[in-house]
């Protein structure tokens, strides 16, 4: 069973390490004061990071549900979503089977698209924080943002769209949450002090 927290940190990512070693783990920096992505200390994966405009920072303090061993910071635009998803999948690469990585790619793309397109729409390009970790061999992700509150009905199972409708009436949207619910579990949302937190688990086995 994979356990990221006890392993040698991804040295090429600037040192993830157990809590406290970096001296930064004790601080819980609110999203709003994250440095500009460009000024985040870069690593040898700079090219990949630049493409996604995200940065690697030492782990945030442990969240109740998991120990975060990686943290990514993403600027809230759709191009950055692409690079950040690729980066997050790479983080879990050694620890999850291929199918779970595929599922994670889908779920995380939908979650991050939602943050950019709904939480932050019209509010300007803020940053999004991802905390990544393993728990019981599954991938655990928490996405935090300072955008609008998420409508509660997103978490509720919605009736499937009627696909027998004539072509002209077929839906062009609304598929995202059903994809998230199909592939992720333990989906939780909270909003505290203006920060949205959405966490989910992508199991290693379907």
């Amino acid at each position: 069973m994979s356990d990221m927290s006890g392993q040698q940190p991804w040295v090429e990512d600037g040192g993830i390490g157990p809590q406290g070693e970096t001296g930064l783990a004790e601080q819980r920096a609110p999203v709003a004061t994250y440095p500009e992505a460009r000024s985040v200390p870069k690593t040898r994966s700079q090219a990949a990071l630049a493409a996604g405009r995200s940065g690697i920072e030492p782990a945030a303090p442990a969240l109740p549900e998991m120990v975060a061993t990686h943290r990514l910071v993403m600027r809230a635009n759709l191009c950055a979503v692409r690079g950040t998803v690729v980066r997050a999948v790479a983080v879990f690469g050694p620890h999850l089977p291929e199918q779970a990585l595929d599922d994670l790619e889908i779920v995380l793309s939908e979650v991050l698209n939602n943050v950019v397109e709904h939480a932050y729409a019209g509010l300007g390009e803020d940053s999004v924080d991802l905390a990544l970790g393993c728990q019981g061999g599954d991938a655990m992700v928490t996405v935090s943002d300072r955008g609008r509150p998420m409508p509660a009905q997103n978490l509720a199972a919605a009736p499937a769209p009627d696909l027998t409708l004539p072509v002209a009436a077929l839906p062009e949207g609304g598929f995202g949450w059903s994809l998230i619910r199909s592939l992720a579990c333990d989906i939780q949302y909270s909003r505290i002090d203006g920060v949205n937190r959405l966490s989910f688990r992508v199991p290693r086995n379907r």
Binding site: V81, L179, S182
Partner: protein, 123 residues
């Protein structure tokens, strides 16, 4: 969004040469498809064999293309694999499209009845 057009017997095959049709690319994809389908006949086959990832926005864009081509033109799909096939299947949108597994250049060359030798073999 890079597209390659190939006129086959009775259909226009449009191959997507980018590896992702996602939220960042969705609008560009729709615009490129409008242009690429100008003057096309009744059948348009979208070849996704080089596409590795389609998210819900990409899926919606493909549906939008199907809708703007209809009713005069039908949009069919080919070359779905991996996570692209998975997204279509999970959303059940694979029931909405005619989907070909094979290379698009042969889709339209398939005869109604197999030939006794030669041309259609090996497809």
């Amino acid at each position: 969004m890079k597209l390659t057009r190939e006129q086959a017997d009775d259909c226009l095959v449009i191959r997507v040469d980018d590896d992702r049709i996602d939220a960042a690319a969705a609008i560009g994809f729709k615009d490129a498809m409008r242009e690429a389908t100008q003057g096309a006949g009744a059948r348009v086959v979208l070849d996704l064999s080089r596409v590795e990832f389609v998210d819900s926005s990409g899926l919606g864009a493909i549906v939008a293309v199907m809708k703007f081509l209809a009713p005069r033109q039908n949009l069919e799909l080919a070359g779905l694999a991996g996570n692209v096939a998975r997204v279509f299947h999970l959303t059940r949108m694979d029931s909405v499209f005619t989907i070909h597994g094979q290379a698009p250049s042969r889709v339209c060359a398939l005869p109604e009845h197999p030939a006794s030798g030669g041309a259609a073999s090996g497809v």
